[in-house]
Amino acid sequence: MAILKTEHLTYSYSTGTPFEVTAIEDIDLEIETGELVAVIGHTGSGKSTLIQHFNGLLKPKEGKVYVDGQDIWESKKTLRASRFAVGLCFQYPEYQLFEETVYKDIAFGPKNMKLSEEEIDRRVREAARFTGVPDDMLEKSPFDLSGGEKRRVAIAGVMAMEPKILILDEPTAGLDPKGRDTILGLIQNYREETGRTVMIVSHSMDDVAKIATKVLVINDKHAAMYGTVDEIYERSEELIAMGLDVPQVTKVFLGLREKGIPVRTDIYTVEQARAELLDLRAKGVVAW
């Protein structure tokens, strides 16, 4: 069964004012357990609005959201349950830290779940391990940490709730390439170890294609595509038409195709590129 399902999800901001804008429209989704879904779309496409529906922060204007088969808006109880079933980590989460120590901040979520002291301790330490927060850092003030460390602590705070679905909105925004790889690496590691569903929102496919199993493309308020990374990259030209970036190597192959060379255009890694070129040479299509 799908862990997350939406039906005709529609939402608009500032309803009933002259500023009313539709942010997402008629979105139908079904996400299977254990997937690592990359949500791609450029700024203003409605990605952030969409994910805030999954834990009931926004109430859909029309349509339904099911988490683990349960309609989250059925009652107050199901709504509250959805907050813990879907862990949402916002953009620049480091600005939400507030406790005296890193430990207490990570424990904020589990504490709200009214868990026992031992269970909270276990979860905090496990989340700290997943995010590479060392033991001695747990007793420091979160405000004494570096930007990258704060970001990892904030992500740990959401992971510690052990949500069935972990959603991260632009977890790598504003980080250098090394920081970006660290964050993406730990997310991948978290998913492999726990087998839980993860969603990463990003405006750049380059970033997440390496670790995602499925890709959801949001364009102009609608769910434009949903499929495996390969399936999505087969439609690179459509992605470019939507103004989304595709990897450099894909661009090269699209360029080759334009020049009349019959290459595949669903290529997004250097290894695939190499194999394709060798293949073409073997077939005698190109020679060098």
């Binding site: 004012t17 002259p18 805030q52 862990g87 600005y95 507030f98 904020f108």
Partner: protein
């Protein structure tokens, strides 16, 4: 929740009211508000309401928006009305139950007060609905310019006001964002008694304060980088000049005020 508050909000437009000189608009609004209190019978108050209606119509701000601006103060209005209804004991007694008495005087006064408060709110929100915050502070600065000799100067105060106003929407947005983030971690801001709810706000306010300080430093650096040094030697991008329409507005308000004094005189005093 916070976004529902429309008092103090600005709705861009190109109507005559929008285009009035902000200094004139500010002064006339002040006079208008004073005269709402000068009115002491239904005839003069009625004239104020009609004038206000004219201004609203000219501004092309929708009635819906204005009603939404009134919403947050409905409680105060009802409270005033109920108090006046029950405690004014003039005129004829028309209804009585245990300790509650209702007199005709109470009904008159209550309705008079309600209309007065509504007029007050609508009049002051008309100023902010149709004038951008920067224009309002600009107008205040110029109106206060005779006080230039004061330490720090009028400009510094006006600049602080501009910055404060400018950051209200930013802070509201920030507040909403942090609230959502903490709610996503299971923070419960909606249930519990007052003490619990206040305590539940700590996870929101600490990050909000820290962010505000960060923004303040960033802004200060940015201003210094652009050589901001206060008032002296600065010229203005926007020159304010009174136009024909400003004098028409002035004339209109003066006529209305004169009429109100006459109406007050001829129809006697209600309150």
């Amino acid at each position: 929740m916070v976004k529902d508050i429309t008092i103090g909000q600005y709705f861009p437009g190109r109507s005559v009211i929008h285009k009035l000189d902000p200094r004139m608009k500010l002064v006339l609004t002040l006079f208008f508000i004073v005269f709402i209190f000068v009115c002491h019978n239904f005839w003069s108050l009625g004239l104020m309401v009609v004038t206000l209606g004219l201004v609203v119509a000219l501004s092309r701000i929708s009635i819906k928006t204005i009603l939404r601006g009134i919403k947050p103060v409905v409680i105060i209005i009802l409270f005033t009305a109920v108090l006046n209804l029950l405690y004014i004991r003039t005129g004829d007694l028309i209804w009585e139950w245990k300790f509650l008495h209702l007199y005709t005087g109470g009904i008159y006064t209550a309705s008079f007060m309600v209309v007065r408060i509504l007029a007050l709110i609508v009049a002051s929100s008309m100023l902010t609905y149709t004038t951008s915050p920067t224009l309002i502070t600009d107008a205040i600065e110029r109106l206060l310019s005779p006080l230039k000799f004061m330490r720090g100067g009028v400009h510094t105060i006006a600049m602080m006001m501009t910055i404060a106003l400018r950051f209200i929407p930013t802070l509201i947005e920030e507040f909403d964002k942090i609230t959502s983030a903490q709610k996503a971690r299971g923070a419960d801001l909606e249930t519990g008694n007052i003490l619990e709810r206040t305590r539940a706000l700590i996870p929101v306010f600490i990050p909000l304060f820290i962010t505000s300080f960060r923004r303040a430093y960033e802004l200060a650096y940015a201003m210094e980088c652009r050589c901001y040094h206060g008032y002296e030697g600065r010229t203005r991008m926007r020159q304010m000049k009174l136009e024909a329409r400003d004098y028409v507005a002035l004339l209109l308000i003066v006529v209305v005020m004169a009429a109100i004094i006459l109406l007050n005189h001829f129809f006697g005093k209600l309150v």
